[in-house]
Symmetry: C2
Subunit: 426 residues, 2 copies
């Protein structure tokens, strides 16, 4: 596991070199994705079937998953798993309801009314990855905020497989309230959602994680539809001092590391003693992990222990890292809230272990990765609404505004703008 030590400025420089965040452009993938999107625009469902055969080795009869298939999948899932998903749903709903925003209307000036409407998107597409692992929790996290926002139709797509869609994914879709499911994956799935086909309705926004083809396709259709952020590897940053429990910290770091060999687990501390204990614990706990191979690679290649000189320096460094998940394992953690400038989801104290947020607390687990917490937010209800401004002026109010408007319009060389106001007074 790599250690960074020294002056804060040296650590920040080393971090910048270590965390290479320049976006890699993979031109081959980009070109392939461009062609796939063009094919789907031109040939619709037929293109989707051909790509399913080619990429998923599945000859599709129906793209659409029927209500019966969903219900059968739901029935096959263990009752306690259903109950846990229902409990998670309840928490996700109660948290996200607090994010709801409301219209406002401003009547401060005589004869003038200015306002803002909060309107839900009409139709949203959710991409759910296929492959060996199924993540029903992600279905809840992507769908429920859209439901709370008031989105009328939620379309889920997921890659076809010879064995059919995973039961627990179908169950999660039912619990979350997905309206329609289609079995289509990859860039072709994103293209279908963005432009529509005979079978798949065009959506207004696409959310959900995927592999490099999915991510590249989302970037390419951006503008024709809205997209959520492009997700990178998972990240955790833990701030801890000598009083913290190394066992818990190691376990939490490993819970990120097991996601992906590119996952990044970072401890920032002012205690050499703690750092050493955590490192020892990590290698001990690693031994018995089923996903040992993945977690070990992640820890070896992307794990970091950073020794800062003071608690203040710890926060400076962590704010530069801008981690997706941030644990504050310091005494009286809430007293440090004000010091946090960049983090997707903050976990306070030794019992707010990060997996609580992945599965249960109700905060969203779709979070800004790779330092994008500097400018992106967790997925939320705000991602599924848009605002409309409203303006009303009486003739008297317009008369008072007229001179300023016509002066500025003419200064910008836009005479028709000036005349549009003046003609009201001819």
């Amino acid at each position: 596991m790599k250690w960074l030590t020294g002056e804060t400025s040296e650590i920040l420089t080393a971090l910048n070199d270590n965390i290479q965040r320049t976006q890699e452009n993979n031109q081959e993938v980009e070109e392939q994705v461009r062609q796939i999107i063009q094919q789907v625009i031109q040939n619709g469902d037929q293109a989707l079937r051909e790509y399913s055969k080619k990429f998923d080795q599945v000859e599709l009869k129906d793209l659409f998953i029927t209500k019966e298939t969903i219900e059968l999948g739901f029935q096959r899932v263990e009752k306690d798993v259903i109950a846990a998903l229902e409990a998670a749903k309840e928490n996700i709903v109660s948290y996200h309801q607090k994010q709801k925003q409301y219209d406002f209307m401003d009547t401060e000036k005589s004869g003038v009314l200015r306002g803002q409407l909060v309107l839900p998107l009409a139709r949203v597409g959710v991409y759910v990855p296929g492959g060996t692992a199924a993540y029903p929790s992600s279905v809840l996290m992507n769908v429920l905020p859209a439901k709370i926002a008031g989105v009328k139709e939620i379309i889920m797509i997921t890659p076809p497989s010879a064995n059919g869609i995973s039961d627990v994914i179908l169950a999660a879709a039912k619990i979350a309230g997905v309206d329609k499911i289609f079995q289509i994956g990859g860039a072709q799935g994103i293209a279908a959602l963005a432009y529509g086909t005979e079978t798949v309705p065009k959506v207004d926004k696409i959310v959900g994680p995927g592999n490099i083809y999915v991510a590249t396709a989302k970037k390419q259709v951006f503008g024709a539809v809205g997209i959520d952020m492009i997700a990178g590897p998972s990240e955790i940053g833990i701030l801890a001092d000598v009083a913290a429990n190394p066992t818990y910290i190691a376990a939490d770091l490993l819970s990120q590391a097991e996601h992906d060999t590119l996952a990044r687990a970072i401890l920032v501390t002012n205690s050499v003693k703690l750092a050493e204990e955590v490192e020892k614990e990590i290698y001990q706990q690693l031994q018995t992990l089923p996903r040992k191979e993945i977690a070990e690679k992640a820890i070896e290649n992307h794990g970091l222990i950073i020794l800062a000189s003071t608690v203040e320096a710890m926060f400076t460094i962590m704010n530069e890292i801008a981690p997706e998940h941030l644990e504050v394992q310091l005494a009286d953690p809430i007293s440090y809230l004000h010091e946090i400038k960049n983090a997707g989801s903050i976990f306070l104290g030794e019992y707010a272990s990060e997996p609580v947020g992945d599965y249960f607390s109700g905060t969203n687990h779709v979070l800004p990765t790779s330092g994008t917490a500097k400018f992106y937010s967790p997925l939320g209800v705000y991602d599924f609404v848009k605002y409309s401004q409203v303006t009303y002026y009486t003739k008297e109010a317009l008369a008072q505004a007229k001179d300023a408007i016509t002066l500025l319009a003419r200064k910008e060389g836009l005479e028709a703008h000036a005349r549009a106001v003046e003609c009201r007074f001819d």
Copy 2:
């Protein structure tokens, strides 16, 4: 001017054919921009100077515009223009302050605290186009919401010119409270903001309109930094019935048409009489417009008069168009607010002429174009903040959640997630 008539469904189909919104990929521009960005990443300021020489025909001594230069520009601007900009600023500030959002904290469950922090971005870059026309109003519209959000540093860039930066742009930057100005344009300017150079600080988000090189560069750096929406040509949609004033409607349609030969002016009405009068008025008013040539081309190639059978059909059609600007010139316009599903900025009644919003009312004039009002919002304070989730659990609360968390984690094959929670109870 083109007319669309018939059944609502026929009109919607014709609209889809008429308004081709598939994004054109210009691979040559994309490749050029990719190279420019790489050069700026590798060679920093030196690359910026070389591109200024090549593209702007300016040999730059300093990239940075000094406070003295800004002050001199400000002093040279007519006093009444300064006063009009100050008045506009006051309205923009009072409107956007209503958009401010606040932290929340939820303590519904015993031993659990869940919250959301609203944190400003640290540093934002604003692109201001150069060229013959200067748009000081756009400087206010891009900068002031960032100020209100609490952004600490606002960097403006604008292309260099042999005559220096326009005085009124410098004045608007001063009034809006820009922190630093650099004279750099094009894709190289966007690259400098996204990755930083010796002189230009790296920002967290880039906003502001620009030509195809600027727009393509913004799309390419998206992910390394945040960006605002990619702006297309200006659009206005007007809903009006037989009682509306054709002179006002024609003038408002022309105020959009004069922006750009690609600008789109659309009247949707249920009155043939009004439609004919508006068309006649448009050609009459066109004759004396300084920007007649531009406006005429826009009206001829992209102007639309749509005859709907009912008021309900008028709204159905307009919601499909999702115009950037929407005027409702119907009696008792506020009673129709609920019918509007997609529009950037809504103007109610015959005195809320659209230029009021461009220059004075205080609502933002940076708006979603080309139908993107279906999923995008006007530029606002919300574009310059991001949210952080906060979670705190006591040991007792975690004990109650433990079974659901570990069950779901193991169902997803993520054993280390389960153990991270369980180790707290060993």
